[in-house]
């Protein structure tokens, strides 16, 4: 079953043409990695799938919901949809005034209307899944970048999403912290949640993804098996990109 379907999507920022006709279908439980040079539109596409950005033309269908530019940021249908989509940001975007446990449980309390006890029980489980069950009462600024990012993953996981969008979640981290986050990601993939991951981590993509989409200048140039794309890219752009990354 297809959970995300983009058809000829175009997106402009002012006069800047960022997405130039993106078409992409993602099946349920699939793990898709998006790679490509900076500025090629990867993050923008991810944000469009969650309606944080609205598209100019084409269509996006997510879990049965058609996203059009007429739908406002906080309309009821978008909120319902976002409950089922997790989004993890490059800069973590944790709430600095809340503890790790509160960060993870606030969505359950506010959006899913759970009582405190139930919400915190689920939140503790999520923290355990990301290997942070000993840090529930730490504030974000008391945690390392890698730990903060894992709290952010737990915050998404706690909502029991059908789809998770992860936007360069290791790009802001020191090399020694990346490993823990990637291991957490592998566990997310094993949970059977559909994931679309923007990343530069080639080894992770090769090991853990079902598919790689290679973005270049607002278009998808290649789409297929990770090993094949990394080792035998067809386009010269992908060849150069992966060569530089190695």
């Amino acid at each position: 079953m297809i959970i995300v379907k983009l058809k000829d999507v175009h997106k402009y920022f002012g006069s800047l043409h960022v997405l130039k006709g993106i078409s992409l279908s993602v099946n349920e439980k699939e793990s898709v990695v998006i790679m490509g040079p900076s500025g090629s539109g990867k993050s923008t596409m991810l944000r469009c799938i969650n309606h944080l950005e609205t598209i100019n033309s084409g269509s996006i269908e997510v879990d049965g919901e058609l996203l059009t530019s007429e739908i406002t940021q906080h309309s009821a249908s978008i909120r319902k949809l976002r409950e089922r989509i997790g989004f993890v940001f490059q800069g973590f975007n944790l709430f600095p005034n809340l503890t790790a446990l509160e960060n993870v449980s606030i969505g359950l309390k506010v959006v899913k209307k759970m009582d405190k006890q139930q919400a915190e029980e689920i939140a503790m489980n999520s923290l355990e899944q990301v290997g942070l069950k000993d840090k529930p009462s730490s504030y974000p600024d008391q945690l390392s970048g890698g730990q903060q990012q894992r709290v952010a993953i737990a915050r998404s996981l706690a909502m029991q999403p059908r789809l998770m969008l992860l936007d360069e979640i290791t790009s802001a981290l020191d090399p020694e912290l990346i490993k823990g986050v990637l291991e957490t990601l592998e566990r997310v993939n094993e949970l059977g949640i559909t994931t679309i991951i923007v990343t530069h981590e080639m080894n992770f993509a090769e090991k853990s993804a079902d598919r790689i989409c290679f973005f270049y200048n607002g278009k998808i140039l290649e789409d297929g098996n990770p090993k094949e794309i990394i080792e035998h890219p067809k386009s010269i752009e992908a060849k150069n990109f992966f060569h530089a990354l190695k």
Binding site: L52, H74, R79, R82, G86, F89, N93, N97, V110, V111
Partner: protein
Amino acid sequence: MNSIGINELRYMLQGLSMTLRLWVVSFFFGMIMGIILGIAKSNHKIKVFRWIAAAYIDMIRGIPLIVFILVGYFGANYLGSDIDLPRFGVASAVLSLYSAAYLGEIFRSGIESVHKNQWEAASALGFSYVQSLRYVIIPQAIRITIPSTIGFLIGLLKGTSMVIVISLTDLTTASRRIAEHTRMPFLVLGLAAMVYFVLNYPLTKLGEKLEEKYKIKKGSLT
């Protein structure tokens, strides 16, 4: 010449009580209206509210408080000329409206200084606009605005003394009458000045402390 006795002191205490009532009431209502104005002015989607809030804030901030009190008092009297308007009601209404403008601007800047990524994180969890404000943005905005709110509170206490122009018996008005009555202006008004200072000084210190604390917090977040 009269000396300062128990009656004079009691009169001044009654004045002080009026000052405190004006202070608390106008801060309370100013706060409520200020939060609404701050939210309205920081909302870039609903332009009408934004425009109204901005116009109100700019207008009030451009008028001297003393003129605003006079306009409020005589204007209200003119409109309801057969009713004897309670001076306290008029003064607290004017001071509340005045506070609302300043606090509104403080809260507006607080809300806008919360990073955009906090809105996005809340949206991504499925929060509505109101839920985002209530659970994510405002708790952070309030922290940021505490020092400037305390600063305003100090100014507001001093501002209440301007009700002297409508002869409302607050600490300043009472002290002036006692000063004339006893012909000891330095002593009496000096005493009044001391009372204002004693009320404000702890707030000044608290404001400095919180500002320092906030600075450290902000530094460690980045």
